[in-house]
């Protein structure tokens, strides 16, 4: 598998989309959405931006499958960290009931 050269045009498009995403997240931050929507919108925009950086700037899209496995392992461990620790914090009050 030889090295893939990403074109400047793709880099430019990603750059512009990232700027638009930043503007969107600022604009959405000042709108009072119902419930937890503000957090959800902010994290969704950030995740989309992060995915674009990973896929194109960091060439993940053109990388070997092993690189994908390594990267996804990070999400797996992060998921474990959050899930196990929150399962503790969320259930602490149960003892007092």
């Amino acid at each position: 598998m030889s090295e893939h050269i990403v074109s400047v045009r793709i880099y430019l498009v990603i750059f512009l989309v990232l700027l638009v995403g930043t503007a969107l997240t600022v604009a959405a931050g000042f709108v009072d959405f119902p419930g937890p929507l503000n957090v959800i919108i902010a994290l969704t925009i950030a995740s989309v931006k992060a995915t674009l950086v990973l896929l194109y700037f960091m060439h993940l899209r053109y990388s070997a499958r092993l690189t994908w496995v390594i990267f996804l392992s990070a999400l797996f461990w992060m998921g474990l960290l959050f899930a196990l620790t929150f399962s503790d914090y969320w259930t602490r009050q149960w003892l007092n009931q």
Binding site: I5, V8, T25, F57, M58, A64, T67, I70, W77, F82
Partner: protein, 244 residues
């Protein structure tokens, strides 16, 4: 290059050995394998970095879920315009970094040098703005704890939303300084890395066949951008909608 079963080292094989790229290290078959191993190694390192920042993201999530109003009040005191400006600066620097990798891939040394210099300048710009922000926090007595003698934390400058506790504002600033501080340390390391890469690019070490150090430094640089993409909305924006 002695292969078992081959009668003996032929003249042509010896010549072929000599024309190997000077950057090829002896324990790799070829540059392709060397490049993939290097890139993979960087990704493994980045996974440990994600876990490193992950702990702090967890702390943020936990305390924000418990002290939402205090976090919103403290967050609203940050200057979102400087934060947004810095986000744009980092995104632009990621683009110039990607362009540096592209330039070396197609063998344009001068363009590689220019885009690396621009990337470094943008990185320094980010750090400069961060320094201004930190100074504002210092002026408003928002450095948490008693880190600076005679200049203790005092949340009286923070406009508290109804129901927010001033005490918990300090937790936000601990997390703010831990996360942006560690991010800034990564930026400083990144600027150092790129300066070394720039030096070797000027010396003519890299070419379309061999440029893995630039590619790998780029991965690191983009990763630091990635962390900021999450830090900006989490630290600066969540809570703005409660202001009025």
């Amino acid at each position: 290059m002695v292969i078992e079963g081959e009668p003996e080292l032929s003249e042509s094989a010896a010549v072929e050995h000599e024309v190997h790229h000077p950057a090829l290290q002896h324990h790799f078959e070829n540059l392709e394998q060397q490049r993939e191993a290097g890139t993979l190694g960087m990704w493994v390192f980045l996974v440990t970095e994600i876990m490193f920042f992950g702990g702090m993201f967890f702390a943020y999530t936990l305390y924000r879920s418990q002290y939402g109003l205090a976090f919103a009040s403290a967050s609203n005191h940050l200057d979102w315009k400087l934060g947004a400006f810095n986000t744009a600066v980092l995104i632009f620097s990621s683009f110039t970094m990607a362009y540096a990798v592209y330039s070396v891939q197609i063998g344009k040394q001068r363009r590689t040098i220019v885009s690396l210099i621009v990337t470094i300048i943008l990185g320094l710009t980010f750090l400069g703005v961060k320094a201004v922000e930190y100074h504002d926090k210092y002026r408003d007595h928002l450095i948490p704890g008693r880190l600076i003698p005679g200049h203790n934390f005092d949340p009286s400058h923070v406009h508290l939303l109804p129901g927010a506790s001033a005490q918990n504002v300090e937790i936000f600033y601990w997390i703010y300084f831990a996360m942006t501080g560690m991010h800034a340390v990564h930026m400083i390391i990144g600027v150092g890395l790129l300066s070394v890469i720039l030096f070797f690019t000027i010396r003519g070490r890299y070419d379309p066949e061999y440029h893995n150090p630039i590619e790998v430094s780029g991965l690191y640089w983009h990763f630091v951008d990635l962390i900021w993409i999450f830090l900006f909305p989490l630290l600066y924006l969540l809570g703005r909608h409660m202001e009025h």
